[in-house]
């Protein structure tokens, strides 16, 4: 058993993920470096990983969001950037956790559209989504469609 000493104690790490037609991770990285101060900024294929004191990271993320608020998303990360336990450079293959981000990135355009729309429309007038906990009876039209789709 060996002793474990954390690398960056007292810091937070956050992902900044960009899904935009106009902004690339490189653009964000340049802007982040300009205002970085004492934080670590790592550019990735989907955005940035930022590590530092919480107030510094929050300040940089607030600033970066202003570039394209509906298309820049953030998320906490447990490990610091480049950590050998997670970095694909040392593990090979996709980083654990990448597949989750990859899946949700397919949905981000709909969320971005939603964020833009709620500013244009009155939020009370937007209907609620159907509750997934309700299990309505099979619609007769849908049943007919299913029957017609059967092979003879």
């Amino acid at each position: 058993m060996t002793n474990y000493t954390p690398v960056y104690p007292g810091t937070v790490t956050k992902y900044v993920i960009v899904e935009s037609f106009t902004i690339t991770p490189a653009d964000l990285a340049i802007r982040a470096y300009e205002i970085a101060g004492e934080v670590i900024v790592k550019e990735t294929c989907f955005g940035l990983v930022i590590n530092g004191k919480e107030e510094d990271v929050t300040r940089i993320i607030t600033e970066l969001r202003r570039i394209d608020p509906d298309h820049i998303f953030t998320k906490d990360r447990g490990f610091p950037p480049g950590d050998a336990r997670r970095c694909r450079a040392s593990l090979g293959g996709a980083r654990p956790g990448f597949h989750g981000i990859e899946y949700e990135m397919q949905i981000l355009p709909y969320v971005s559209h939603g964020l833009a729309e709620i500013r244009k429309r009155t939020i009370e007038e937007i209907p609620s989504p159907a509750s997934p906990l309700e299990h309505p009876a099979l619609d007769i039209g849908k049943l007919k469609k299913l029957m017609e789709a059967q092979e003879p």
Partner: protein, 148 residues
């Protein structure tokens, strides 16, 4: 600021929405960071030690596999801490081994048992769904009050 448990606990979309609308998301990264930043004995990759399944006994019985109890030592305290929850019900990405699957079931059960405001959703499948999805989350989070 209200502490909102998100399910799936690794969700980028929910984590962003909760933080964007002024509250604190409780996600698995928070629990992992706590362990990664605590000095002790080396136990790679997640610094999960044999102590964790013992802590998990608070939420799962002793005959439940150690994998579920170990995972519950990460999520259990956050479920207890949560003041609200947003649950996505068709989150295929959270599917993993049987340990993950059973832990997910237990987390959802504990959340449903808890008397806190909850929002159940599914992922949007088109742009109009996206508008309803975002609006529902915003209405829910605004209704909690105390947004920063």
């Amino acid at each position: 600021m209200v502490k909102v448990f998100i399910y799936p606990a690794t969700s980028l979309i929910l984590s962003d929405m909760v933080a964007r609308f002024g509250h604190t998301p409780l996600s698995s990264a928070i629990a992992i960071r706590e362990r990664i930043q605590t000095p002790g004995l080396e136990s790679p990759p997640l610094q999960i030690t044999p102590e964790e399944p013992k802590k998990g006994l608070k939420w799962a019985a002793v005959e439940v596999p150690a994998g579920v109890r170990g995972r519950m030592s990460l999520y259990g305290p956050m479920v207890e801490e949560a003041e609200a929850a947003i649950i996505i019900n068709d989150a295929d990405l959270s599917f993993g081994c049987m340990g993950c699957a059973r832990t997910n079931e237990l987390i959802k059960f504990l959340l449903r048992e808890k008397d806190i405001p909850k929002l159940d959703l599914v992922y949007p499948k088109n742009e109009e769904d996206g508008v309803r999805f975002v609006a529902a989350i915003k209405r829910f989070l605004d209704g909690l009050g105390g947004a920063k």
